[in-house]
């Protein structure tokens, strides 16, 4: 089997974002998706700090400290983009105006619960940012994460052991091994990477998966 690398995962998610979509890309792995959005599509990226029409990082000489993304990195505004204040920005999120939020995760449960903000460790300083708003607000919540932890445990679990970001909020999971839809009756495998058959994916994942007719 051939696992997807981070760039391939980003490209895989990008392929599913349609023309005209309003999208928020979370910090970290999801931010990579911006680099792979199909060139022919007009897709509008939202940034929590108050931008619609977020563009790529500028060349060093054109950095403007008043134009940053949600990760506080230098960014640009595309033609047609605009700025607004924080309450409007989160009205867009919470008010179900965004078509997609793409978020990283520590764990996703069979029910679509998302854990991505806090390990719960005694010495960990908690920080949540906009994750809980995106989890409940976007029309579709797409999660992007590695399928397994470093010690080989499935990050798709029966119940999240980390503190929740949102309950029953995830619609689809993209991992380095598979694409899986979260539905009321359970997890449906949409596709798996080349060389990974359903039984092996099921063995690695631990929680029950369902086959789509088209799945490997």
């Amino acid at each position: 089997m051939k696992k997807l690398d981070r760039k391939q995962m980003a490209a895989r998610v990008a392929r599913d974002i349609p023309e005209g979509a309003y999208v928020n890309l979370g910090i970290g792995l999801p931010t990579l998706v911006a680099d792979y959005l199909p060139k022919g599509r007009e897709i509008i990226l939202h940034s929590e700090n108050g931008i619609l029409g977020l563009g790529p990082k500028p060349p060093e000489a054109e950095i403007d400290e008043d134009v940053i993304n949600a990760g506080k990195e230098p960014a640009t505004l595309l033609t047609g983009g605009c700025y607004f204040h924080h309450a409007d920005s989160f009205a867009m999120i919470r008010g179900r105006h965004l078509d997609f939020a793409v978020l990283g995760a520590f764990q996703v449960s069979v029910a679509g619960d998302l854990a991505n903000w806090h390990t719960g460790g005694a010495d960990a300083i908690p920080a949540v940012g906009g994750a809980m708003d995106l989890a409940v607000g976007a029309k579709k919540v797409l999660v992007m994460m590695e399928h397994l932890t470093k010690d080989g445990k499935s990050k798709i679990v029966e119940r999240c052991s980390y503190p929740l970001t949102g309950a029953r909020c995830v619609d689809r999971i993209y991992t380095d091994l598979a694409v899986i839809d979260v539905k009321p009756d359970g997890l449906h495998v949409v596709e798996a990477v080349d060389g990974l058959d359903f039984d092996e994916l099921q063995r690695l994942t631990g929680v029950p998966l369902k086959r789509l007719a088209t799945a490997a």
């Binding site: 400290e65 204040h85 908690p126 940012g129 809980m132 949102g166």
Partner: protein, 219 residues
């Protein structure tokens, strides 16, 4: 004649008492009113409750205020960052209190504070640790958490241009928390790049009307 222009940041913040609640505008460095924060440090008020999205970056601005041990409590959404060492150290030592608020709930609580709203129900955080102990309610087919407004004694804002009535424009994504914090504080002080004549700001482009602003400092 109304004239909200104050000569220096120090003069604008001379009356901040110990124990005040102070909203500080900015998302990272974008919109952070550095000159006003420096003046607040020099002024010496302590036991402050600070409202900001973060808990200081590096050694300047809000981080310097924390380092100077003037902050008793902070309300924010994202304290932990690679360069939030002054907050981290005081938090781990139990010397600073943290009220962690989801970012959109923080923004809406501030907006509600300025808008005279008594409380509101939001779906954000339902079923999570951050909603523990809070009232919840099912409305239609969704569950919501009751959240209360945040108001402040002072708001420190960075804007781009102002006139003597206190009308403000902002610059790009540095607008972030400015307009909502300006409305939610009893005394809003704006640090601005440029003061222009009354009438020179396009009325269609004014983002914060002067009614929300008490003092203006050019810096």
């Amino acid at each position: 004649m109304i004239n909200k222009l104050v000569p220096t940041p120090e003069a604008a913040l001379a009356d901040v008492p110990n124990g005040a609640t102070v909203m500080i505008h900015g998302f990272g460095n974008a919109g952070m009113p550095a000159a006003l924060i420096d003046a607040l440090i020099a002024q010496g008020a302590r036991d402050l409750t600070i409202v900001n999205n973060n808990a200081g970056n590096g050694d300047t601005g809000l981080a310097a205020l924390i380092k100077a041990r003037r902050v008793r409590k902070i309300l924010c959404s994202f304290p932990r960052q690679a360069d939030s060492w002054h907050f981290d150290a005081q938090y781990r030592a139990g010397e600073i209190e943290l009220e962690l608020v989801p970012q959109g709930t923080l923004a809406e609580r501030i907006r509600a504070g300025g808008a005279g709203i008594g409380a509101f129900y939001t779906p954000t955080g339902y079923g999570t640790k951050l909603a523990e102990g809070k009232e919840t309610r099912r409305i239609g087919d969704r569950d919501y958490v009751l959240e209360y407004p945040i108001q402040a004694d002072y708001a420190l804002i960075k804007a781009d241009r102002a006139d003597r009535w206190g009308n403000l424009t902002y610059r790009k994504s540095a607008r972030n928390f400015g307009p909502i914090m300006a409305a939610a504080a009893r005394t809003t002080v704006a640090q601005v790049r440029e003061i222009v004549e009354l009438g020179d700001l396009d009325p269609e482009a004014i983002i914060t009307p002067g009614i929300f602003v008490k003092r203006i400092v050019k810096h």
